[in-house]
Structure formats: structure tokens, C-alpha cells
């Protein structure tokens, strides 16, 4: 039971399918991971470590172009929204 996301907010999201190619810990915060996700180009995405199914090779939906979030000496503009994706969708395919 969560308040709805209004259509305008949802339409702002730039969603793409990609493949996780690397997972590394956040340099300072043990409960965050940094994923490298291959879209058309690789992007780095910030996620909580408890997010399941995000090992290398997993196919996920990534929101890109977010307002940059500064942490650990880096600025992140991408986060993983869901995974794994089982459909045969090429890396970088836009969903929204």
C-alpha cells in the first residue's frame, strides 16, 4: 500500500534494460553496492546491498539520467529499479 506515483513523475523516468557486468562495494557505506550495468554504454548504478539477484550477468531495469547523487567521492545518476529481466531485450533498450 503505497501512494501512487503520478504519471508526470513516471514519464520523467528514463528506463533501460541492461546487464550487470560488475558489482563492487561502496567505498564507505557497507550497505550500498555499486553496479556497472551495460546498456548501450556502461553506467554505474547505486543500490542497497540487500537488493536480490544483482550479481554479474543479471539483467535489470535501470533508471538513468536521475538528478546526480553525491556519495563516496562519486556522483551517481542511475539506480536499478528491478531485476532480473527474463525477456530477450537488447541491452540499452528504452522502456519508457
Amino acid at each position: 500500500m503505497k501512494p501512487p506515483v503520478d504519471l508526470a513523475d513516471f514519464q520523467r523516468l528514463d528506463l533501460h534494460v541492461g546487464t550487470v557486468v560488475a558489482v563492487r562495494p561502496h567505498p564507505n557505506l557497507i550497505d550500498l553496492s555499486i553496479l556497472t550495468v551495460q546498456l548501450e554504454e556502461p553506467v554505474e548504478a547505486l543500490v542497497p546491498v540487500s537488493t536480490s539477484g544483482l550479481e554479474a550477468g543479471a539483467r535489470v531495469v535501470v533508471a538513468v539520467g536521475l538528478h546526480p547523487l553525491q556519495t563516496g567521492g562519486q556522483r551517481f545518476s542511475a539506480s536499478v529499479l528491478s531485476g532480473p529481466v527474463v525477456a530477450e531485450i537488447p541491452n540499452g533498450s528504452r522502456l519508457s
Binding site: 561502496h26 542497497p48 546491498v49 540487500s50 547523487l69 553525491q70
Partner: protein, 227 residues
């Protein structure tokens, strides 16, 4: 900047810490006021015929309070949402507070902001100890909160009683430039929502308060046996 005692971690609290520097909260941009009203209408409509008290995250706050002998003390997001449900808008509390009230109401996270110029760190979220002192926001005399949990500075000054009431000494005002915002969730609020809440507040503060922000703390709501 924020340590959490093992006892509270075991109870499933989650936390995050966002530092904002160079903010200007002295005026509320019209775009923020419009956004605040829009979200207020949306949330009021959503909660109009729903009971806040049955939401799992709200129940979890209440269960946590009961473990510490506290009843009838709504967590901060519940107070905000009760107001929004009645008024279809948030209180006009200045740009900074408007921004974090919006995030709290949308995510059910509890947020508290403190003026970094007035704050001694590190802060510890832990059960209250006998020598700790709490002077609530808007008051000048100490209030007893033995047996509860709190955010406490290295000198034993309680800067926030549970996720319910902040202190007077570190309050933010229109002159505050550098602030720290503590986020608190519980095991019924997904960790991705905690990160999303941090992300949303960082965006709002940078857009509407002209500041820069940095995420410096993040602890998930997991069962832990030790820190």
C-alpha cells in the same frame, strides 16, 4: 556521523545520513510551493479513506515505541500525513522543512534536520542513559525521556527523542547554511525506498535550496547480531 547501537539495529531500524551545505532556506520558491500543494492534494486523496494506523510501517513504528514503553506518540511521518489529510497541503515551514516533510510523507521515513554549526558529532542512536539531557524544540527546560531511545551527541545531549521530537539547540532556521538530515526507517520500509528518499531529498534541496548534498551514511533494516 551517525552510529546506531546494536540493540536498535537488532530491532530492524534503518538509517541514512545526508549532509547539505550552502543551502538557502530563507525563501520558498514558487515552484516548491506548487509542488508541495500538488503532492499534498495527491496524498490527501490517497489517504482519504485509508487508515494510517493499519499501514505496516506505521504499525512497526508503534511496536517499536511500545518496546520502550511509549504509546500514543505518533512517528513524524504520521503527524505530517494527518495534517496533509485534513488540509490537502503541508504546513508552510520554510524551504528546507518543506522539502523533508515532502519526502517523509511520500516514503513514511522519519526525517530530522539539524544545523551542523550547532551540532557535535558523532551522533549515536541508542537507548537513553541516565545522564542524557533533552530540551525539546520550543522549550527551555529539560524533559525526562528515560527508558526511551534517542539520537544523542557526544556530550549526552539528546538531539531527537525517538523519531518524534527534535531538540531546541540544533534546530534549523532561515539562517542555517549547513545541515545534516537523519533518515530513519524500519523493517517494513524497503531499503530501496530509503535510498529513493535520500535521492529525492538531495534533488529537492539542490533544486529549491541552492545547496550541495552528499550521502554519508546508509544502514539497511536487517537483523544484525553486531555492528
Amino acid at each position: 556521523m551517525l552510529n546506531v547501537s546494536p540493540e536498535l539495529l537488532r530491532l530492524g531500524l534503518s538509517t541514512a545520513v545526508l549532509v547539505a551545505r550552502g543551502i538557502d532556506s530563507s525563501r520558498t520558491p514558487p515552484e516548491l510551493a506548487a509542488y508541495r500543494r500538488s503532492v499534498g492534494r495527491q496524498l490527501a486523496a490517497f489517504w482519504k479513506n485509508r487508515k494510517l494506523s493499519t499501514h505496516p510501517a506505521v504499525r512497526e513504528y508503534e511496536q517499536l515505541h511500545r518496546r520502550f514503553g511509549v504509546v500514543d506518540e505518533p512517528a513524524a511521518p504520521v503527524k505530517i500525513l494527518r495534517y496533509v489529510r485534513r488540509h490537502q497541503d503541508f504546513t508552510e515551514a520554510g524551504a528546507l522543512v518543506d522539502c523533508y516533510n515532502l519526502v517523509s510523507a511520500r516514503t513514511l521515513l522519519s526525517l530530522g534536520a539539524h544545523d551542523l554549526a550547532k551540532l557535535k558529532t558523532p551522533i549515536t542512536l541508542r537507548p537513553v542513559q541516565p545522564d542524557d539531557v533533552f530540551i525539546p524544540l520550543g522549550e527551555s527546560t529539560p524533559r525526562d525521556c528515560q527508558g526511551e531511545y534517542a539520537y544523542v551527541d557526544p556530550d549526552g545531549q539528546i538531539i531527537c527523542r525517538m523519531e518524534v521530537l527534535q531538540c531546541e539547540a540544533t534546530k534549523v532556521d532561515a539562517a542555517s547554511r549547513d545541515v545534516v538530515i537523519f533518515f530513519q526507517g524500519n523493517r517494513e520500509i524497503p531499503d530501496k525506498d530509503l535510498l529513493a528518499g535520500v535521492w529525492l531529498l538531495a534533488e529537492l534541496l539542490e533544486r529549491f535550496c541552492s545547496g550541495t548534498t552528499e550521502l554519508v551514511g546508509f544502514l539497511e533494516a536487517t537483523e544484525r547480531n553486531e555492528t
